[in-house]
């Protein structure tokens, strides 16, 4: 069968024309901007009633690493939220602080582009095994106080969604 290069050239021309017509500033911004959103926590359950006065304390525990990792991990559950009345590009940010040297998980955030259910994944925090002596800070087994704050931020304002104490149990 004879090779027909015609359609390929047409496709290339179409893409080029669209590229030029779209111009140099076609993409939408990805960062935080103005706007607002009403956010309620769906999961974890201990935080679901955070808007109401609740006394369920959230306890986070360390568990051993798997597949040959000898670190232990502070498993921090994903935060699932229901977003309503969204406008603009507000940011959902979660910040867990623990009253222990050596546990310092960084805050996590995501832009709320739309209403609906959103998941904010919190990376597990790895702690060194006993006897690790190359540097860093070892964390002794025990129970530590922590604090979790979840906020909706934008250039238009800052709204606290969750402001709870957290118990962190570091096992052996």
């Amino acid at each position: 069968m004879a090779w027909r290069p015609g359609t390929g050239a047409l496709v290339v021309a179409t893409v080029f024309v669209a590229l030029v017509l779209a111009g140099p500033a076609w993409g939408t911004p990805t960062g935080v901007g103005g706007g607002t959103a009403t956010v309620s926590v769906v999961s974890p359950a201990a935080l679901a009633g955070a808007d109401a006065p609740g006394d369920d304390s959230l306890t986070l525990r360390t568990t051993p690493g798997r597949f040959g990792t000898e670190a232990t991990y502070l498993r921090i559950p994903d935060l699932v939220v229901d977003v309503r009345e969204q406008s603009g590009r507000p940011q959902l940010i979660a910040d867990l602080s623990v009253d222990a040297d050596g546990i310092d998980p960084p805050p996590v955030s995501r832009i709320l582009h739309r209403s609906g259910t959103h998941r904010l994944a919190y990376p597990d925090a790895a702690l060194p095994p006993r006897g690790y002596d190359h540097g860093g800070t070892a964390v002794e087994p025990g129970t530590y106080d922590g604090h979790l704050e979840v906020r909706v931020q934008s250039f238009d304002g800052d709204h606290v969604v969750v402001n709870r104490s957290v118990e962190v149990v570091v096992g052996r």
Binding site: G23, T69, P123, G136
Partner: protein, 623 residues
Amino acid sequence: MGGTPGMVVFLATLVILGALWRIDFLLNDSVTVANVVTNVADGRLAVTEAPYALTAGEQPGLVEVDGVLYGRNYGQAYLAVPILWVLDATAGVVDLRLLLAAGWSFAVLGLGRSVGRLLDRPVVARIGEAACLFAFAASLLVATDVDWLTRPRPLVALGLSTLLLAATAATVCYRLVSWAQGRRVGFASGLALAVATPVGFWGSFPKRHVLSATALLLVVYWFAVSRTGSDRRAIAARAGAYAVVGFLASVHAFEAAFALAVLAPLDLLTAPTNDRRALGAVAVAFGVSLLPMVATNLAISGQPLQPPRTLPGADGPLAPGQAAIDQGAIGRPAGVVGDAGLPLGSGDIPGRPAGAGLLSPVAALLDRVVWVGTYMGDQFVAGVAAATDLDRLYHVLVRSGWIPSVRYHLSDYETLETAMLEVLPLAGALLALPGVALAHLREGARFERLRAGLADPVRQTDLFVGALAVTLFLAYLPRLPLYAMFTLRYVLPVMPLLLYAVARMPPVRSAAASAPRTLGGTWGVTVAVVGGGFVCTLAVLGLARGEVIQFLALSGLVTALALAAATATRPIHERDQVMATALGVAAGTTTVFVLATGLLVYVDGNHALDLVRLVVARLPAVG
């Protein structure tokens, strides 16, 4: 390019690794190189503008000479700068994100056309055209800004050059193995280099290791071609091999020096002719190719053989404000891991300040040559000594897990380091080499036969590949295992050489040539099954980053051992289908590693393609 199959390998690599490409830094020494690209594009070697770092201390490898800051890996920057000029020229006309989407869509189009031509099925070309249109139209609908970087184009140019180099490496691998083993084995090897070795991992981040790997593959290929005759083409190839080594010196002088130390004697010993014309061409090509390094070094250190990375303080972070630096913009090096520093020619190596004493320029040059030779000898001896440390070899070659000597606090205690067989299970076939060699000896290998064999260009290339791989591996071994290596990145250039060695093994050659459908089919099923299993495991167990890497590493090790067993027992089962299946599973496991790390592990909403970003947002997150 290698005709239509070579084009398929090139474009398939671009399409796959382009989809995984993230406009970001994995290691903070890439920040330095991205800043170098920015400044070189503006016409200066000095780093006076640093759009990707707030302080000089965030840029490992930055050195100060007479109050002026310089970077390193200038050769890598020289390759990226022309791309940056093109990107800058289009800045006022087209959107950067859409330009990248259009480029990727064109690669899809080209791949469809090439595959259609290869299979003689025009319908595949039509599918490629439709996919191209769809990809670009969908990108138009969901396009976002690359606004996490104040000045993204230099980093994009660096990433693009790395991507193109990875695709070039795959194509050269195809041509090299085709030359030695025939097209089918070459085609499989080229694709394997892209998706079944860690080249696929590093192709989507702007590190120099892909450049080194590509350069050394080119050296091997041109060495091979130049063994086959003494005509103009062979001489050009021979000169080309030296020219690539010369250019590599502007990226990493010691890697180039080790390559030259292996190339020069083996080339002279095995070349079809060493007449004046051939040696003249080699001398001219090598001399000219050294110009980028020599000019850069002269401008920075004043010594032609003193690259920036050997200057005092090259490894230590400099205090902010030590030299004038424009901190006008702050990048977002998301998830950046600190680099371990340079393996060769860095701060802990006894480098000398420029302009040593009262020596004349010639004497200083000779002194420098002696120093380089002494250093290389010391490093090689240290490598041989390190090779007797079985515990070290076990963690470097076989199994990583939690390695006692690694400073994991520098990677937040995550076990991200992997061993050779874990990320290159195809090398498992090499475990059967002693058995193959024994069988060969039993068949009555005599010294005369071996000597005659060494007159064969393919055997000569085997010898060169073996010597180069062993030399580079030993040169880096004293530094390993080490944190921030991810996939033993220092020895990444060795991995394509190992792939060549695997492809040269008779059982592998036979399987790839006679059972390509089994090989490809098993690879596809493995990617689907292991990939699907991995995603399910991730969703159910909620794995952390270190656990994900170790899960994938263990999968790789198991398949490497299975391949080793299949290869070792080849004389018993005598079935190419078994070998092809083992090869496909091993290759597929690495592909899952490349995809998983590129789509799930080292990601932060930073994929170059919006379509990929949207897909990734719907996948289970790494805990």
